[in-house]
Symmetry: C2
Subunit: 274 residues, 2 copies
DNA sequence: CTAATAGTGTCTATTAGACAGTATGTT
DNA sequence: AACATACTGTCTAATAGACACTATTAG
């Protein structure tokens, strides 16, 4: 039983901080972007892809598997600060969009020891990356197939391609909250596959009622490109007139146009919020 | 620099888990419910209130201030397990609705030492609480006033009443993400006022597109009562026909009615998802 | 009878979905 | 010319907002 002290000062001076067992914390960064997949027909537009940045592990545990960039937090560092530090180490980016996703605390999620990890989702415009990525880092295009029971995610980075399958387990009816169980995964370390699906769903949700998508766009874009990004994240086709109706309040038409395709040039727009 | 090992087994056997500094983690529970405020006019219905459970601190730091129920997590316990344990200690409830809210990691959020805390929001039907609360615990009705720059939250539990004021600081334009700065608060310990406003906003958001509200309702309720709960959480009046149109797919009409008010009796409904 | 809530009908305004049509570049 | 995309007009369907009206109880 703790002894009681009269004043808070006195209490703090006598406080023994070793009475509760301690643990380590890490930050995992789920960095999303969109990339262009070239088409071989001169008339056709590049296809937009949704991609995630992963790093190949050099050491045990999970040696040679892919994982999200991350690292331990220091004692004089908040989770947000650690996230920013790691982001700066992996990319040359500062002050980009990040949001806290989820804190994962499974006892044996890391075979080394008890580590609790908080994930952050970051959205970047890949074209703003000026430095080349480290050798171990790579952007993977993600294709999501979803049905009632599971997700099947295909990752590919030109050199390699793999599929992971995640089962959906309904844990809560009123909000349709799911738990995710990894059914097939030979390539992604730790519980990071779960973090990826949580992030995709968060993004899918927020893209519908916020302007979050503009964090992944360049300064100028055509409405066709923007629509493709929406489509690839939502996983469905949208009707042109409906899309333009909704988006027109969020963007500003510029004088510039994008030419070069074997078809009518497209007007370039800017995000209004900038 | 870590030595490299051939196999993962060998690596783990030689792993020194003391190389990173460790910290303590706690779980804070934001337990919301609705209560009835009696009216003195026999004709008038009880008014629904939105309320939160808080506990008076017996010890330093923040002695005699109110805080959210919470506690340290054990080394063999996930955050969710710790949350359930604490919930069972505070109330007699098990398996109720909980969701992870936010992980707060400010360096000096606890004057004793570095503590990172993950908050969970729980929704309960107060009438299912059979045991009486411990002496130090109390339900506070919350009234939220919001304008462009700030929130003003009034807490009252019949015996005492206080106001806290929280400034909104827009930190991110695309998703209108705010940071919260406590302007006036003499009664709530730690950063728990911030956690409360985060929880209220999460609930306000989810009530619009999920069935989350039914976690706070009893088994039978009138549509008038249900509408009042929506109104008190959303902070605005709703039109009867519109509300009934939207809610009618989510509920089942029963044979029971609620009589006794000086007006037409009201049909009792059940949640369809049960 | 009256105050208070319960519950419904219907008109209008707004938004979303569908589809057809026109416009204009490059090769 | 032909293809691919850009962009618009308009009809219809679905949804949301507003308001007025009727119904029913305890005192």
């Amino acid at each position: 039983m703790e002894k009681t002290y009269e004043t808070e000062k006195e209490f703090l001076e006598n406080y023994d901080s070793t009475i509760y067992e301690k643990l380590s914390m890490t930050v995992d960064l789920l960095i999303f972007s969109v990339s262009n997949k070239k088409t071989n027909n001169y008339r056709k537009l590049d296809r937009k892809c949704f991609s995630v940045l992963m790093v190949k592990r050099k050491d045990h545990p999970f040696k040679n598997k892919w994982c999200l960039p991350g690292g331990f937090i220091g004692v004089k560092e908040t989770l947000e600060e650690a996230g920013e530090r790691i982001l700066a180490e992996e990319t040359n980016l500062h002050k980009i969009y990040t949001e806290q996703l989820y804190t994962n605390s499974e006892i044996n999620r890391d075979p080394r020891m008890r580590i609790v990890s908080t994930s952050y989702m970051a959205l970047v415009d890949k074209d703003k990356l000026t430095d080349t990525l480290s050798l171990e880092a790579s952007w993977f295009n993600i294709t999501v197939l979803e049905d009632e029971e599971k997700y099947s995610l295909t990752f590919d980075n030109e050199k390699e391609s793999f599929v992971i399958i995640i089962e959906k387990i309904l844990t809560e009816k009123t909000t349709e909250k799911y738990d995710y169980k990894i059914i097939k995964n030979e390539h992604i370390a730790f519980d990071h596959a779960k973090t990826i699906i949580i992030g995709i769903n968060r993004l899918k949700n927020k893209i519908e009622y916020t302007d979050i998508v503009f964090n992944m766009m360049g300064s100028y874009f055509t409405l066709g490109e923007l629509q493709q990004v929406y489509e690839v994240i939502l996983g469905k086709k949208l009707l042109d007139p409906a899309f333009r109706r909704i988006i027109k309040d969020k963007v500003i038409k510029t004088e510039k146009v994008k030419t070069g395709g074997g078809h009518r040039p497209s007007v370039l727009y800017k995000y209004k919020g900038e």
